[in-house]
């Protein structure tokens, strides 16, 4: 009974990602889309908070949004999974529900 969480805001601008991470449960996936993808980059002021999740929650990022913003996949934090729109659909189907953190 796992949840797919989506976050579409930059974690440098809003609290959406932090609030989302505070409400995840083991087995959930957090998918970063649109301006949310900046949250998956390593070596930033925020990376520690995100890494603090441990392995109980999977962090994923929408590759088309990464490319649009010129972020090389090599800059992502360790363990972040990239998906395309088809992969987004698969994640939504595999999880029991989706919650958007707007």
């Amino acid at each position: 009974m796992a949840t797919l969480h989506t976050v579409n805001k930059s974690p440098f601008e809003t609290q959406a990602l932090l609030s989302c991470l505070g409400h995840t449960k083991a087995g959930d996936t957090v998918l970063l889309i649109e301006d949310g993808v900046y949250g998956a980059v390593g070596n930033t002021a925020l990376a520690d908070a995100v890494a603090g999740l441990g392995g109980a929650v999977t962090l994923a990022v929408l590759a088309p949004d990464l490319k649009a913003r010129g972020i090389d996949e090599g800059r992502l934090m360790d363990g972040v999974k990239t998906v395309d729109y088809a992969g987004f659909v698969e994640l939504a189907a595999e999880h029991d529900r989706t919650q958007a953190w707007l």
């Binding site: 649109e34 395309d84 939504a92 958007a100």
Partner: protein, 130 residues
């Protein structure tokens, strides 16, 4: 699997309606069903036929109208949200004494009950907003 989709922001200003469109396209390509997309809040503005985006930009309304035509997806604009923001069909314009309407082909205006119904019928509900 049956997906319900909510679009909560207007075209161009926020990426939400683009992401929703790509999600729906990918879901249909994977063999899933998307019987209905519900446009709420500023999302109602996606359904205007009066927009004229620059030639080097995508036409968001036409993308959705074409999708509805090809796949029979029911594109529902919330009437309460639409009235506040100036999105009307011919019927509503006549009833309200307005001299024009602006809804695009493939969209229809209906009540919030259609959103709840979509939530009941769908296996998964997706929200794209701001």
């Amino acid at each position: 699997m049956k997906f319900g989709v909510v679009v909560s922001e207007g075209p161009y200003t926020h990426q939400a309606s683009d992401t929703a469109y790509h999600f729906v396209t990918a879901a249909l390509a994977a063999g899933h069903e998307v019987p209905r997309v519900f446009f709420y809040h500023d999302g109602v503005n996606v359904g205007t036929r009066l927009s004229i985006p620059p030639q080097d930009e995508r036409n968001i309304q036409e993308q959705w109208s074409a999708l509805a035509k090809e796949h029979g997806t029911d594109l529902v604009i919330c009437i309460a949200a639409a009235q506040r923001r100036g999105l009307l069909d011919k019927n509503e314009a006549d009833r309200q004494g307005k001299d024009a309407d602006n809804i695009a082909e493939g969209f229809r205006i209906s009540g919030l009950g259609q959103l709840i119904e979509m939530g009941i019928d769908a296996d998964r509900l997706m929200t794209f907003g701001d």
